[in-house]
Amino acid sequence: MFDVRHDSQHQPERLALVGSLTIYEVRQAHEALLGALVSSAETRHWLLDLSELEELDSAGAQLLLALQRHLAQQQARLEVTGPAGEVLGMLELLRLQPLYPDVLPAKA
């Protein structure tokens, strides 16, 4: 299951992805994220919270990559936070540096 929690009350605006983001969920996620981008078109600083994301596959990673590129084109800043476990593993496996969090969690 997938869910986006959009918190537009604080700065930076926060997009928290919850559950799993795989080929089965990307369409739903794409729509939800598009909705968030449209409703907050003026926002210039986003925080992408991946701490509650449990599963990520290449299709999901591609979606995040597209999101990052989109915001970069809009000269908006995207800060990634909280990826862990399998999600972090996927980002590292694909060497998706633009999606690396600013602070890597300490490895156990």
Partner: protein
């Protein structure tokens, strides 16, 4: 659009395909139970699950898709080396496969609906998750598993260690449908990292459209990978074998010539600069080389040498290694083409064809007979050619129905594994002659009797490990399934090295059940045969598996129904062998035509060993008796007397000696007419109880001939001999001089 019927038909096709895949998967799993590291088996298993999931998706069988998805994910992890298939995991996977099989069998072909036992599935999935959970703790997900000893493994930086050797460069571009078909490139990268160290990896997102325009389920990505490995090009290619149809793959060996890199740059859809920079960044090209190369690119390039010769020239690999890799690729390709060259045909269509061929055999024989009586030489020659061709068609048609028994045998790995685990016995199954071919309808009917014999052998035959050790046998019991040809018949053996049949106990039981007279003095062999009597069971404790007294008589009747026979070889304390003899096919046989007065009979040719001629006066007119054949008694049946036909008036009689297994008998007949091909027509309901007749056939001249059922004649003869053991007049005559 498809109408309902077409849809049902497609769904039916899927169900068949799925059953095959499940069977394959089970075989692979059992193989992995023995050799957990067998990569081919892991790949095969993965492929089977993946295909199953994909096809189920086409039919919107969502419960099946999601269930197999879990199995597939687990297998993916196994393939990537993150988990190993431990015996408990194999057992669990087998149970999951059973669930998949039961789901497939529950699919409603008409509505396409699939009822699901969710409780059971959730149990299985929870157990699977437990296994997955354990493994994740052992291996942190962030670490890329790399087996090589290179100290820089898994790092993003260039590998200084291996720099001297250079690295393979792999370019991948994916088909947009890659994700939709259930593939995840990340899985292949993980798998690739088992071959060596990924020094460099770039996700090429050049063709990714803007966020609002993208189709999130399409794949827009490409990959540029530098891999430091000892693996061959073929091995690297194999990693991507699954997505062969959904990707464009370019692999450049280490230290490739500059023009190869340039050609690669040229072939890729992105701008030259992008890939060029990646190559420079990864140290495969210098900035200078790149500039020079791009400048040169306009000029006509020299003919590119074959990759193999480049490799050899570069001194990277010995020529043998290239050849070996090529041969491996070749055989993999041949195997693929072999798989795809098979056609699935409905069994009833084959039956129809064989039926028609049968009619053709009869009418061709009729035409030949006509031509011969007509005497026209040209006509005779033509009909002979036609007959030859009919013969060839017949053989080819029969071969269509022949399948190897190996598939049926292999199913017993599972039975043996499950049953022996249940009973706490340690049993090894050995299979021989798996390539022996047998008529499909025979094989189908054999599955149940064989299962029964195998279960019996495990349950009653093979002792517990302690008993075995006490008896001086190895603790591991052995069960053998064996198939081979013997004089036109197929022999199938189920042999164990267990305790053997207890003759005394069987005798006692038979007396208790009133099957034999307590005074009767039976040979050991005959006592053993008593276990086939209805309602007979010697097991002292009735178990789940066998011992309920149903079964052996069913085994016997199935085999009788196939015109076969079964015999037992048992040595107390050393083991027991059940030997089943079956005819090769049920439809057409090579026959030997004989006659009694005006009546024609056919004996299956492969049972005939020799023919003798003798004077009628020496034979007498009783139905049964003995001859002395080269010093051995030969039991004889006078067919005329046996079938109540008028006694023959001819002076000379013929004796056809037939054999079955180790038994021999003589059939006393009037005339011999030689070989002919016979299409067996089953007897109608009215005549099915007839003893000694197995069927009928129509001769070329339109006359009906009856086909003798030799095994039943043998039984009849035996009963008669036993009944009148006292008053046999023997030997009637001495023909030992022959």
């Amino acid at each position: 659009m498809l109408n309902g019927d077409q849809w049902s038909q497609l769904l039916q096709g899927f169900i068949e395909e799925a059953s095959d895949l499940i069977k394959q998967a089970e075989e692979y799993l059992l193989q992995l139970d023995q050799t957990p590291d067998d990569e081919d088996a892991i790949n095969g298993l993965f492929r089977a699950m993946h295909t199953l999931k994909g096809s189920a998706g086409l039919f919107s069988l969502t419960p099946l898709v999601s269930f197999t998805h879990h199995l597939e994910s687990l297998l993916m992890a196994v393939r990537d080396g993150q988990r190993t298939l431990t015996p408990p995991l194999v057992s669990l996977m087998l149970r999951c496969l059973d669930e998949v099989a039961s789901m497939v069998s529950l699919i409603d072909v008409d509505s396409g609906e699939l009822p699901v036992d969710e409780t059971h599935q959730n149990e299985l999935l929870a157990a699977l998750a437990e296994h997955s959970g354990q493994a994740v703790e052992q291996i942190p997900a962030t670490q890329v598993a790399a087996p090589s000893a290179c100290p820089n493994r898994g790092r993003l930086e260039k590998c200084a260690n291996c720099d001297a050797d250079g690295a393979w460069h792999i370019s991948l571009r994916f088909h947009p449908d890659l994700f939709r078909n259930g593939f995840d490139p990340a899985a292949f990268i993980r798998y690739l990292s088992r071959l060596g160290d990924i020094l460099h990896l770039d996700v090429i997102d050049a063709s990714l459209p803007s966020f609002s325009e993208m189709d999130p389920e399409s794949c827009y990505l490409g990959l540029e990978i530098d891999l430091c490995t000892d693996a061959s090009k073929a091995e690297i290619e194999e990693v991507f074998e699954f997505i062969h149809d959904f990707s464009t793959l370019r692999i450049l060996p280490p230290n490739s010539a500059l023009e190869d890199y340039l050609q690669l740059i040229h072939e890729l859809p992105e701008t030259d600069q992008r890939v060029g920079r990646i190559l420079v960044a990864s140290g495969l090209l210098t900035e200078h080389e790149l500039e020079q190369g791009l400048a040169l690119q306009a000029q006509a390039s020299e003919q590119k040498p074959q990759l193999g010769s480049v490799l050899v020239e570069e001194g990277m690999v010995a020529p043998q290694a290239v050849n070996a890799a090529l041969a491996k690729q070749q055989s993999a390709r041949e195997k693929r083409s072999l798989e795809s060259s098979q056609i699935r045909v409905a069994a009833h269509k084959l039956d129809e064809l064989i039926n028609l061929v049968g009619e053709l055999v009869i009418s061709a024989a009729g035409a030949q007979l006509r031509a011969q009586s007509h005497g026209d030489a040209g006509c005779v020659e033509t009909t002979q050619t036609v007959n030859q061709h009919v013969e060839l068609i017949r053989e080819a048609a029969l071969k269509l129905r022949m399948i190897e028994i190996g598939d049926t045998f292999n199913r017993f790995h599972r039975v043996v594994r499950d049953v022996s685990q249940q009973l706490g016995k340690n049993i090894r199954l050995e299979i021989r002659g798996a390539d022996t071919e047998l008529d499909k309808s025979v094989i189908d009917k054999l599955a149940d009797p064989l299962t029964h014999l195998v279960r019996n052998a495990i349950d009653h035959g093979i002792e517990s490990a302690e008993d075995r050790l006490a008896a001086g046998k190895p603790a591991e019991g052995q069960l053998q399934l064996n198939a081979y040809h013997e004089s036109g018949q197929i022999v199938i053996e189920v042999a164990d090295d267990g305790r053997g049949l207890n003759t005394e106990r069987i005798r006692q039981k038979a007396i208790d059940r009133g099957l034999i007279d307590p005074q009767a003095n039976l040979a050991e062999h005959d006592i053993h045969a008593l276990i086939f009597a209805a309602g007979f069971s010697t097991a002292d404790n009735v178990s789940d598996l066998s011992g309920r007294g149903v079964g052996m008589d069913v085994v016997r009747s199935v085999i009788d129904g196939l015109r076969g026979s079964i015999e037992i070889d048992s040595v107390l304390g050393a083991g027991c062998t059940f030997r089943i003899r079956l005819p090769l096919t049920l439809a057409i046989i090579d026959g030997f035509l004989i006659s009694l007065g005006e009546e024609y009979f056919v004996v299956p040719l492969d049972m005939v060993t020799e023919c003798l001629e003798m004077d009628a006066g020496q034979l007498g007119d009783s139905a049964y008796g003995y001859l002395n054949l080269r010093g051995k008694p030969l039991p004889c049946i006078s067919l005329a007397a046996h079938f109540d036909l008028p006694a023959s008036r001819s002076k000379r009689r013929n004796i056809v000696v037939v054999n079955q297994g180790r038994q021999q008998a003589g059939l006393v007949v009037d005339n011999l007419h030689g070989e002919l091909q016979t299409v067996i027509k089953p007897l109608g309901l009215l005549f099915q109880h007839l003893q000694g007749i197995g069927g009928s056939t129509i001769l070329g001249n339109g006359q009906v001939a009856l086909i003798l059922d030799i095994p039943s004649l043998f039984r009849h003869l035996q009963n008669h001999v036993e009944a009148s053991a006292g008053d046999l007049r023997q030997p009637r005559m001495d023909i030992s001089g022959f």
